[in-house]
Symmetry: C2
Subunit: 258 residues, 2 copies
């Protein structure tokens, strides 16, 4: 299978970077093809703007990006990443959790690469297996400097699964990926060898099962879970579909919460 | 009062940009001092890396940023933004909602400006009025291209207040701001004049009341809402403190949910 690892840490000696090397080796040992987008090493440009569209302006930024995509006029670096995504069976986004989401350079990879008409669009399905990137798997792998207890159901930061919902549901499920439960490790600063070995072992297991792990059972917009025949109209969860008492992001996951 | 507007849209003719101009004029008419950080116009660098630290490396990126801050060796553009924050009584972050959060260039402003020892640190309080940026107010103002019905309590995108929680709670409340309820407007593409006037009028009202609006009643880590005497230990919401049946992000807001 083809694996794309998108890696976003400024220090080649960081834990995140060592897990990138670990992942490359682990996948290759199993016979997979691995491509790495090491965003800091690539000096990836983060700010999405009109300079990516070869002179196309258009009435608004979103549709201008879609026109540039459809006419093959996107910047070469964006086109290269889009091709990596087309080729991938599994995408791993590997990053330190900065301010409870991805570092800016990785947000810039999403903002610039996931253009209109490529990753979403009026004629493309979303939130389910009709999305343009359906048939592919994706997994977040993120390290935090905080204590695990701060990310629990009642932890002061909020539950880590909810913090990652805008990425897992809003980016990956939105565009059609089967989204695996995230890999997370906490207290990832100044680890002892034993602590590192434990994190590495847990990560290896997740990589080894990446093609068999059950994805998060997010609900499908086109599969009848939401109101409205066509999505530009209201699209709300059909009454009664949830486990009684469920609210917030949990509404959008079927069955037991992962 | 001193107002800092941080603005992040690549098109000077966008709705977001017009609301920036509206805000500047409205605040000045009321006699406030207004400073604008127009990130695209400034060609703000998004990717946080060691080049900001004047040669300081250190054992990890976070502490290196703190050392560079403490010794006055941060890049000049970062120091300038930190001074704007020190001077501000109110900070407005104004942006289009891209993939359910800020554009990369604004994430890069947060990543690079909110350094260790300036915005947070082992010796600084967090999640409450002991944070280093306490005494200041902050408000998100964001425009989306989606329908309002997709951002409701049961909407397919998830509730907009929950989508913004990592920014409101995880960045602004974390560092000590009093966080105002966000200003949001939906379907912000190809507006009629009437639709624009409605959004502008709602925004004007929020600006006029920005110094009197009640902040979101987030709970305080140092105020006894969480377990653990010192925060490096477990910090979870004290049992029974919440409205019965509350889960997820809502646990961290006292009283009726805003």
């Amino acid at each position: 299978m083809n694996v794309l690892i998108v890696h976003a840490h400024p220090d080649a000696n960081s834990l995140t970077s060592s897990l990138k090397d670990l992942a490359v080796n682990a996948f290759r040992e199993e016979g997979h093809e691995v491509v790495v987008s090491d965003l800091y090493a690539m000096k990836w440009e983060s700010a999405a703007d009109y300079t990516d569209f070869d002179g196309i302006t258009g009435p608004d930024f979103m549709h201008a990006s879609g026109t540039a995509y459809a006419t093959g006029r996107l910047s070469a670096d964006i086109q290269a990443e889009q091709q990596k995504l087309r080729d991938a069976d599994l995408v791993v986004l590997l990053f330190p959790l900065w301010w409870f989401t991805v570092p800016a350079i990785l947000k810039g990879w999403i903002d610039r690469v996931f253009t209109y008409n490529f990753a979403y669009g009026a004629d493309l399905g979303r939130y389910g297996n009709e999305g343009p990137l359906s048939g592919k798997r994706a997994m977040l792998a993120t390290l935090t400097g905080g204590r695990a207890g701060h990310y629990t159901a009642r932890g002061v930061n909020g539950p880590v699964d909810d913090l990652l919902f805008p990425l897992n549901h809003g980016v990956l499920h939105f565009t059609g990926f089967d989204v695996l439960p995230p890999f997370t490790a906490h207290s990832a600063v100044h680890l002892t060898t034993e602590q590192y070995d434990d994190i590495a072992a847990r990560f290896r297991l997740r990589l080894a099962t990446a093609f068999t792990t059950e994805p998060i059972p997010y609900r499908s917009e086109t599969g009848g879970d939401y109101t409205g025949l066509t999505y530009p109209d209201g699209s709300e969860l059909v009454p009664g579909r949830e486990t009684p008492g469920t609210t917030g992001f949990a509404l959008h996951t079927a069955g037991p919460k992962i």
